[in-house]
Subunit: 230 residues, 2 copies
């Protein structure tokens, strides 16, 4: 009974949200949950939840709902969370240091295995229990420590080179925090976290609001008259 193993990208991005939600309710002793309830807690539409979960393979029971434990097992397996994914943080500046200290990593299968920098004055120093290694050591580190994910926390200017080196060393999953456009070959996966972008998007929608409600109602001229006339 081979399932259609094609999980849409949008669904993949929601699975972690369901996972987190399920862990929460599991901690509260809940053993069964309906798509309706899960949707409410995850902040999405119930139909979407059902369709998303159906990609994992019909684990619900009609008339009852989903077994929380079972769903968690299946979801963890699908997301690849049954193993550890050692992470290397490249760039131990402000951001990199914060990430290294941030507990949230090791918690659930993403141990920080290496800190890497290109600055000779930083290399060799110890930070958060790790000796900072040089970028040139990357291939060796990947072999030794099984680095599976690279986090780019360098300034924008070095980001693409770091990405290239990570890929060359065999790291196929990259998370980019640098405010720069980075591209990777198709065989690799790149995700980005872009603070400036998020703030600017907020700025855009915030401005829309502060211009005044009238303008949003596309009464351009009327709104201007009202404002200057008041």
């Amino acid at each position: 009974m081979e399932r259609q193993r094609r999980i849409p990208e949008a669904t993949v991005a929601r699975l972690p949200v369901y996972l987190r939600t399920l862990l929460d309710v599991q901690a509260d002793g809940v053993t069964t949950i309906s798509s309706e309830r899960l949707a409410e807690l995850a902040g999405v539409n119930a139909a979407k939840v059902r369709k998303d979960l159906s990609y994992l393979g019909s684990f619900g029971t009609r008339g009852v709902g989903y077994d929380v434990d079972h769903l968690l097992v299946q979801m963890s397996r699908e997301l690849g969370l049954t193993r550890d994914w050692p992470v290397a943080i490249v760039g131990v500046g402000n951001l990199g240091a914060a990430l290294a200290n941030y507990g949230g990593f090791g918690d659930r299968g993403f141990p920080v295995a290496a800190l890497i920098d290109a600055d000779p004055t930083k290399v060799g120093t110890i930070f958060g229990g790790h000796t900072i290694r040089h970028l040139d050591d990357l291939p060796a580190l990947v072999d030794e420590l099984g680095i599976a994910i690279g986090i780019i926390a360098t300034p924008a200017v070095g980001a693409q080179e770091v990405a290239d080196r990570l890929v060359a060393a065999g790291v196929k999953s990259i998370l980019n925090f640098a405010p720069a456009v980075v591209t990777v070959p198709e065989q690799a996966t790149l995700r980005k976290v872009d603070l400036a972008l998020e703030l600017q998007v907020l700025s855009f929608y915030g401005q829309r609001d502060s211009i005044g409600l009238a303008l949003r109602e596309e009464l351009g001229v009327a709104a201007a008259a009202k404002n200057s006339g008041a």
Copy 2:
């Protein structure tokens, strides 16, 4: 000549990328740029660039390209970057502290105006030039400092309450770093930065790779045979 002022969400999210790219080329002395070149630098499709820019109002010149300076002005205006958007960081723990120290904020119109925490032992202490204020002072701070954007950097458990309080105090733009589902009323805008989610998505695609190329070609059984037989 009133333009259709309806900019798609996906476009809004790309404008900051174009903006950054344009600033880069402007610094190199480039005065004119084609959609082709801009697309290459921004890592997107040229047709998409043209369509996105057309929402701003046809500022290109056929046969030539776009005037970099002019485009930057229009884009900044559209994104609301002609004014400052004072930011309040709520939650001065590991992450909040890192964000407060991170220079990238004040740079371009998003000055950190206040640090806020609910922990009485932190309130009153000075961090990075700011006296940490109590969450209860939020309404006053919004009035005094014109806080326009709230950044949630608390543990998951407090996130929703902080969001509610921000909205109640009149802050309509929120950026959530807490690993929790947070919802806001329609009048407000919420964006999220979710580290765990990004890592888990990488894990998903990483696992797909390590299972073996053959499996990806949906030859389920054949792939298993090949692997065990080799």
